[in-house]
Structures are given as structure tokens and as C-alpha cells.
């Protein structure tokens, strides 16, 4: 009958993807993206010492929508990476049962939400 009909590499990866694997990939990609961002971040901060007028011009750009969207992306990456790391540490270092971990994560998320709401009201 012949014919070489093969699933693509992407289809294979998609077939094997599951929530824990996606969490791993998100953690890895957010980490790489932040690693790329940090040198740029330090370079801009260094302008405060080397060329303050250039820094002011750069900070003026933060008013534009594009930069605001980029800042949203940055904070999102930081949040994904931070919670990804906390998740990993809890999973590997706490010999708790899965329901105990779910309860702990729910409690931490609820506390974080309440504290953030309080903080937003304060500022």
C-alpha cells in the first residue's frame, strides 16, 4: 500500500502536551525571555550614570501604548516565572499529598489576591 504519511514533529509534541508539561514550557520560555530582557534593563539603568538626558528621553517613551503593552508582557513574564518557580519548589521539596498542595496553593492565591486588592486601594 506504501505511502509515507507521518505526523509532523509539532503534532507529536501537541499530542504529548499535558498541564504539567505546559507549566514546564511556560517556566522555561519566561525564564529565557527574562534573561534576554535583563541586560537591556541594566543598560538603560546605567544611562543614569553615563547619559542622563538620553535616559530621560527613553523614559519619555514609556508613555506610549506600545511600551505599556510591553510592560504588561514583562510583568506577566515575571509573574509566570515567579509562580512557576514557587510551584516547582513546592512540588519537589514538600512531601505533601496532592490535595494538601492544592489547598496550600489556593490559600496562597487567595491571600495574594486580598493583599493586592488592599495594596491597590492604598495607592
Amino acid at each position: 500500500m506504501g505511502g509515507d504519511i507521518r505526523m509532523s514533529r509539532f503534532a507529536h509534541i501537541k499530542g504529548r502536551a499535558h498541564p504539567l508539561w505546559i507549566a514546564y514550557i511556560l517556566h522555561r520560555i519566561s525564564g529565557l525571555a527574562l534573561a534576554l530582557f535583563l541586560p537591556l534593563h541594566f543598560w538603560v539603568l546605567a544611562m543614569a550614570m553615563t547619559d542622563p538626558s538620553k535616559l530621560d528621553a527613553f523614559l519619555g517613551m514609556t508613555e506610549s501604548v506600545v511600551v505599556k503593552v510591553a510592560e504588561f508582557g514583562l510583568v506577566f513574564l515575571l509573574a509566570v516565572h515567579m509562580f512557576g518557580g514557587l510551584r516547582l519548589m513546592a512540588m519537589e521539596w514538600l512531601p505533601w499529598s496532592p490535595p494538601q498542595k492544592t489547598l496550600a496553593a489556593t490559600a496562597a492565591a487567595a491571600s495574594f489576591l486580598i493583599a493586592t486588592l488592599f495594596f491597590l486601594k492604598a495607592v
Binding site: 500500500m1 506504501g2 509515507d4 507521518r6 499530542g15 504529548r16 504539567l20 508539561w21 512540588m91
Partner: protein
């Protein structure tokens, strides 16, 4: 095309050269993936090579990649995996292919021994049998992993194994964790040495594919996390 006929793509050849071949297989009630492969071998192409033995999910011989996912084929109904009445069957990932659907399991079993997945006994036949209390925390940990059938589904599912050929893999590390918690095993130092080396437990990225795809619903990922904790404790001078 009638839905009474299933379109099956089966990978043929070896690691050096492989290609997919299409087969048409009649559909039956309660048909498993292994039934489909057997039908092809018995009715269409007797040169098709594959492995099976017990057909009831005990021996761990018949694992294959089904639509890119590692599965025990004797306990997987074809109706659950068909996409548009089609299925793609290939040999297990991360192992050398000997021919068609048959892989060389040697690397998998060699790593089992490398991880000290062997009995470290100190008693002789003249000693009394050590009493085992099923309720202790350590025995609960040991019991959690003893139903492994060595099918290599977790080994085929693991992307860390793909990326690092020295990595011992989920099954071998889970066996090490089981023995570490077994009151009858005296190999603590040997096991912790074996699993903290270059290919050891700290390579694991906790992607969890082993736990997701284990056909016996075991949890190698948590077992490996246990090894990470014990080796770290030893490193920091606690719990030798």
C-alpha cells in the same frame, strides 16, 4: 470510506532507515491497538515485527507510540485513539529500534541496574523474616511504586531522556526510591550515590510526562522528587 475499516499507519524499518506504511484493518468491537497490529501481521504482512506476551497489562512487553503518545497497546482500545478513523503506530521513543515496532530495551534495563535498582540484602535464609508494617510512612512510599511492570512508557514519554542519553529515567529512579524506603533493603548509601551522579535524579525537570502516561497510574515524578530531597539532605549533612 467505510468506518468499518480503520486506516493504520505503521512505522517500518530500523533506527537507521524508517518509513510509514499504510494498512486497512477491519474494525471490531472492543478492539485494542495490539489487536490491530496483530491483525496486520496475521492477515496482511507477516514480516511485521512487534512484541507482546500477556495481553492483559501485566508483562510490560507491548508498549508503542500511538499517535505520538506512549501507551500499553493491549489495554488501549482503538476507538479511544482514532482520529478521523486513522491511527499512527510507531516504536517506543528514546530507545534504538531493532525492526519495525521492536525496540532494544537494553539501555532501559541497564539503567535500572545503574540506579542500584537491585536488592541489597544483609540477611541469610537462616535469619527470621523482617516484619513489615504496612502503615509506616516509608512503607506507604515503597508500596506506591512496586506495581511497575517495566513497560518503558515513562522512559519513552520523558523529554529529559531524549535530551540527555545518560539520564537514568523515571522507571529506574522510581525503583531506587522504592528500595530506599524498603525496610528489607540495606543499600541506602549505594542508592544515594547512584542517583546523585551525572545521570541522576537532579536532571529531572518535573515535566510530569512519566506520571501522566504511566499505564499503572504510578507517580515516578514524585518518587524522583523524593530522591532529590534525600540526596540534598545528605549533601547538607543531614540524614546520611
Amino acid at each position: 470510506m467505510s468506518s468499518d475499516v480503520i486506516q493504520v499507519a505503521i512505522q517500518r524499518g530500523s533506527s537507521e532507515a524508517s518509513h510509514n506504511e499504510m494498512f486497512e484493518v477491519p474494525a471490531f468491537d472492543s478492539q485494542t491497538v495490539l489487536d490491530v497490529v496483530s491483525w496486520v501481521q496475521q492477515n496482511t504482512d507477516p514480516t511485521l515485527s512487534y512484541r507482546f506476551a500477556c495481553r492483559v497489562g501485566m508483562c510490560g512487553s507491548c508498549a508503542m507510540m500511538v499517535n505520538g503518545v506512549p501507551r500499553w497497546t493491549c489495554r488501549t482500545h482503538i476507538s479511544k485513539v482514532l482520529v478521523d478513523n486513522k491511527v499512527e503506530i510507531a516504536p517506543l521513543r528514546n530507545l534504538p529500534v531493532i525492526k519495525d515496532l521492536v525496540v532494544d530495551m537494553d539501555p532501559f534495563f541497564d539503567k535500572w541496574v545503574e540506579a542500584e535498582g537491585v536488592h541489597h540484602g544483609t540477611l541469610t535464609r537462616d535469619d527470621p523474616i523482617a516484619p513489615i508494617d504496612d502503615t509506616t510512612a516509608k512503607r506507604v512510599e515503597a508500596n506506591a511504586g512496586i506495581e511497575c511492570i517495566n513497560c518503558s512508557v515513562c522512559y519513552a514519554a520523558c523529554d529529559t531522556v531524549t535530551a540527555n542519553s545518560e539520564y537514568l529515567g523515571p522507571a529506574a529512579l522510581q525503583r531506587a526510591w522504592t528500595l530506599l524506603n524498603d525496610a528489607k533493603d540495606e543499600g541506602r548509601t549505594a542508592i544515594l550515590d547512584a542517583v546523585s551522579g551525572k545521570g541522576g535524579c537532579h536532571n529531572c525537570h518535573s515535566m510530569g510526562s512519566c506520571t501522566t502516561y504511566c499505564p499503572n497510574e504510578l507517580d515516578p515524578m514524585s518518587a524522583i522528587a523524593g530522591l532529590k530531597r534525600e540526596t540534598a539532605k545528605r549533601f547538607f549533612g543531614r540524614g546520611g
